[in-house]
């Protein structure tokens, strides 16, 4: 097949349009830089969202041949592999805005507890930055996208002056908060990128609770509406849709010179040229692209002579525990939708007050799915049948509280993404193989996570739904992959500097979660946005100075 080569040389080519790529495109175009974004999908039409379709209307619509937007990439279209005994669930959204179309919206600042944790405990490398380096960017991101939250401020969850008002807690959340306080655990207001009041001209949330199906009024941040559309209005941005990036190309000096991609519909091969390449395709896909970018200058994949790229994959361990609080059992159900997801959060505290622990790092806790839900899955864990069973479900339904502890998984050299000898995708490009397992540290942390969740439910005098102690979700479930192209001070042990710039190939940047040296227990998107903003400020300054 003939390769279609464009003669245009773009200032910057960005692979991916999610939180990372969208921020890079927005921040560069507003500074006058010409940008080309390659998106592996296309725009999701808001008019076609099923946000307000009631559960019983779904089948009726499906029968009519209607379909909701296909947000998630079907692994049959774009496969990946893993070792047989270590399954890994990889969730990908290709299309303008990527996963931010349907993300969980939890927006938590990382603190020096996170950035310098490895320096304290000696496990792998610390972040090449301190909170003071990133906090101005957290401020700017929060003002731009709108994050609701409280006025709390602690070492493991630094505060913000820019939060929108937090939503009122639900009844079950109030009761959990009281119970947790009784055993010395502080639950704070949840922080989410949801507009609880009008913000920058955008309409506020109307509390329909269907965020996971996409927001038809953009009342929570998504990269397409908040970043790409304003960038397009500058006239400096070009987006190529359905462009599945395969490799970063390089010139004889080894510098990045362009990108090879395949048209998702026709399969046709294209190359585009650029002075700078920013990879932002989400952790695993970015890593796959970098490792497949082999040349005589870069036999181990571009910018990977130190064999760091692909290694140190880290995510989070989590599980779910449920209970029914007595105060709410048998009451009339309320509309508990709120901003969807929990309105409270348990910040990490296990490092404080001389507490002894036999493992490294820590965990936090989320509470989504508490209160009246649009289903009653808990009923499957109740014994019996018949009228008594039916009454039991109804009695418990308004009283449901859900606990979801998230714990950090340590970065390990052998937890990795490779492309050596893997099957090829429909474009003839090797797919990613994920080798990933957790170890003794996580097992010990999960023990304490179970203790804490159980103690909190007991303190609330809740009826605890039967659970299997020690069980954790399949790897990848948190959808927080990190580490495979990590930043660091030492060019021998890291791939990027603190500006997400390759140590080895100066005109190559990787701005998504792959750049994180550690996973932390927190949700990464706010930090991805802040890092991508900071990285592209640096990039634009380097361009102006003529160094790039």
């Amino acid at each position: 097949m003939q390769i279609q080569k464009s003669a245009v040389v773009h200032d910057v080519i960005i692979i991916g349009s999610g939180a990372a790529g969208g921020m890079a495109a927005w921040n560069l175009t507003r500074q006058g830089v010409n940008v080309l974004v390659l998106d592996a999908g296309s725009k999701f039409r808001k008019s076609a969202f099923w946000s307000h379709v009631k559960p019983w209307e779904w089948q009726v619509r499906l029968d009519r041949g209607q379909r909701p937007p296909q947000f998630y990439v079907d692994p049959r279209e774009q496969p990946y592999t893993f070792t047989k005994d270590q399954p890994f669930d990889l969730m990908r959204v290709w299309g303008r805005g990527g996963k931010t179309n349907v993300w969980g919206r939890v927006s938590l600042r990382y603190g020096d507890v996170d950035f310098q944790g490895p320096a304290r405990d000696g496990w792998e490398i610390p972040w090449p930055m301190r909170y003071k380096d990133i906090s101005p960017y957290y401020d700017k991101v929060e003002q731009l996208i709108g994050v609701c939250g409280g006025d709390d401020d602690q070492d493991s969850l630094p505060g913000s002056r820019y939060h929108l008002p937090p939503p009122a807690p639900r009844c079950g959340e109030q009761l959990l908060r009281k119970a947790a306080r009784g055993i010395g655990i502080s639950l704070v207001a949840g922080r989410r990128a949801v507009l609880t009041k009008e913000h920058n001209g955008r309409a506020p949330c109307h509390y329909c609770g269907a965020c996971g199906k996409g927001c038809d009024i953009s009342a929570f941040f998504n990269s397409s509406d908040y970043l790409l559309e304003p960038a397009l209005r500058t006239g400096k941005l070009t987006v190529i849709d359905n462009a599945v990036a395969a490799r970063v190309l390089n010139n004889p000096e080894g510098r990045a010179s362009g990108v090879q991609y395949f048209d998702r519909a026709s399969g046709a091969e294209h190359t585009v040229r650029g002075r700078i390449v920013i990879v932002a395709a989400s952790c695993i896909d970015s890593t796959r692209i970098l490792l497949n970018s082999k040349s005589s200058q870069h036999p181990n994949g571009i910018a990977n002579s130190n064999d760091v790229i692909g290694r140190y994959l880290c995510e989070q361990v989590r599980f779910h525990m449920y209970g029914f609080v007595p105060e709410l059992a048998g009451t009339a159900a309320l509309n508990d939708d709120g901003i969807s997801g929990e309105h409270i959060y348990m910040p990490r505290y296990n490092h404080r007050d001389g507490r002894k622990r036999d493992y490294l790092r820590g965990f936090g806790m989320q509470f989504w799915g508490s209160g009246a839900q649009s289903q009653a899955q808990f009923a499957k864990s109740l014994d019996g049948f018949g009228a008594d069973f039916k009454r039991g479900v109804k009695r418990r339904y308004p009283a449901l509280v859900a606990l979801h502890p998230y714990g950090e998984v340590l970065p390990r050299r052998d937890n990795r993404v490779t492309v050596e000898g893997t099957p090829k995708d429909r474009y003839g490009v090797p797919i990613a193989k994920i080798e990933y397992k957790t170890g003794e540290n996580e097992r010990k942390m999960v023990e304490e996570m179970y203790d804490v969740a159980d103690a909190m439910l007991r303190a609330a005098k809740a009826e605890i739904l039967p659970y299997r102690r020690g069980h954790v979700d399949v790897a990848g479930s948190a959808i927080h992959e990190h580490g495979t192209c990590r930043m660091g001070e030492d060019p021998k042990r890291s791939a990027l500097n603190s500006f997400c710039q390759s140590h080895e190939v100066k005109n190559l940047f990787v701005v998504d979660g792959a750049a994180f040296p550690t996973a932390t227990e927190k949700n990464p998107t706010l930090t991805i946005l802040a890092l991508a903003w900071r990285a592209t400020d640096h990039l634009a300054a380097e361009m102006r100075a003529g160094r790039l």
Partner: protein, 158 residues
């Protein structure tokens, strides 16, 4: 229990289902048996039961969309009728309610996998129906509200 991931997956799966003709997977005898079973699991009380909420059709559609589960399901139904013949010399659908309940109770007590399977399907179908979710449980979600008041009970604060 449903995790966020399972919910996401449910959405993802529901979107790729092929449109199949409404050819019923279950024959009339099997359909009668399914109706009897789901109505025992969630009966009509002062609110609608599983049959009122269309759960038999839900079960049929689930099997249409998951053909690999059909043989196991068919075997499960046959086992129920065999047990019924053994104990009461009649097919299950023709038994008196207390006889049906006795058979189901013993399946429930011994954690019979087929009982668990059809019970879970009944829960999925019933509590996603208007009758089960809105009428029985009182769900009022997915509404557009000008304000979210949250908990207004002073006694829940502390």
């Amino acid at each position: 229990m449903n995790s966020r991931r399972q919910l996401l997956k449910g959405v993802a799966t529901a979107t790729v289902l092929p449109i199949l003709p409404a050819a019923p997977v279950l024959d009339p005898e099997q359909s009668k048996l399914v109706a009897a079973l789901v109505d025992l699991i969630i009966p009509r009380t002062d609110t609608p039961g599983a049959v009122d909420a269309g759960v038999p059709a839900y079960v049929n559609r689930h099997l249409e969309n998951n053909p690999a589960q059909q043989p196991r399901f068919g075997a499960g139904l046959r086992a129920v009728d065999e047990q019924s013949h053994l104990q009461f010399k009649q097919p299950f659908a023709g038994l008196r309610p207390e006889q049906q309940t006795a058979i189901l109770q013993s399946m429930s007590d011994r954690k019979d996998p087929f009982f668990k399977f059809i019970k879970d399907l009944t829960i999925d179908g019933y509590y996603s129906s208007r009758e089960g979710l809105a009428q029985e449980l009182g769900w009022q979600g997915q509404s557009m509200l000008p304000e979210f008041k949250g908990c207004t009970h002073p006694e829940h604060k502390g």
